[in-house]
Symmetry: C3
């Protein structure tokens, strides 16, 4: 079994943002030369998410609006205090909670060198507490 | 490492529906003859989900009710406009958002030819915008 | 491809509780001696979850509070009736639904014998209907 691990670094631009990473994931599957296996995509942060949806700007807005409604900015959170480890106030409880609802990892099969996704499935890296410098990992296992 | 990929096609019957696919997944693990590995189950659509819960009709109703409450039909969505690519109005924003909350993929280990699940874990294909003709994928990797 | 499967049993202490299992998962990756592969963590119960977030007690409270808000104890649920199979009333619909929102499984890559996680990513077993005796599974595949 081969395992190819790629760390992809991105500078996000907005506080909340869905970034289409489908092309990058597809390219890495080709680069890996794995013919049959699985590609795993995961974020290394707790105020981001990985999600999949149809690649339409209006849906991106609806996803952002939904998680802001379910986890409102103006809520009362325990994670809202001085964090000695960070040297600053923690004010991003909603970012953490939104990530927990969306999840932070997905996978897809690889068959004959091609990733299997639905024709409307777009893979998104979701920034929930940006702008920040972020890393996500693409692992391709198989043969 | 062996990789067996099965595409399962189903005609859903209702607009919103939880379909028990546990038996199909178990059967495919047997068919694959993989003794030790992992089975991955994922939907190829963005208005469906894959979820796991106790296999009780009353819980199926509660899951459907919950996501309809969190993402109401009567909400205001950006994804509610004429889509040239589809030749019709997009009116299924809630279906997309409900899928994002439930997720669309799960996995289970395989040990000595048997899938490891909890005794109450039932695997569901969740239709959120039916009835439609749908495809989900079962991939079995291992040896 | 090697597959090492570990069943970890825990006695939870509270009705609702986030239990940090990061150390156990890291230790099992070492024990497995898998150098390159993937570790899968999943719960075998439908009233629990596996989630990942920054390991702070205040965030643990916020996660518990959020899912209690989204799925209130005092809601009206179908899963609230005498269950002959259990010999008692089912009163834990919220526990099932909270698990469905958080999800019950995660994975991480293994590279040169080390699990790849973000520096703030803590892996949690989430009790939603305790206290109970629970089992989660850690599977390590690779070579």
């Amino acid at each position: 079994m081969k395992s190819n691990i790629y760390r992809i670094e991105i500078q996000t631009q907005h506080e909340s943002e869905l970034i289409n990473i489908t092309g990058t994931v597809f390219d890495l599957v080709k680069t890996s030369q794995v013919k049959n296996g699985t590609v795993l995509v995961l974020s290394l942060h707790t105020t981001t998410a990985i999600t999949v949806n149809e690649g339409l700007p209006d849906l991106e807005k609806d996803i952002a609006t939904l998680i802001q409604k379910l986890v409102p900015d103006e809520g009362i959170y325990n994670h809202a205090r001085f964090l000695p480890s960070d040297g600053q106030m923690a004010i991003n409880a909603p970012s953490h909670l939104r990530g927990a609802l969306l999840g932070f990892q997905v996978f897809f099969p690889i068959e004959n060198g091609n990733i299997i996704t639905g024709s409307r499935q777009t893979i998104y890296f979701v920034e929930l507490d940006g702008p920040q410098y972020r890393t996500y990992v693409v692992q391709i296992i198989g043969e």
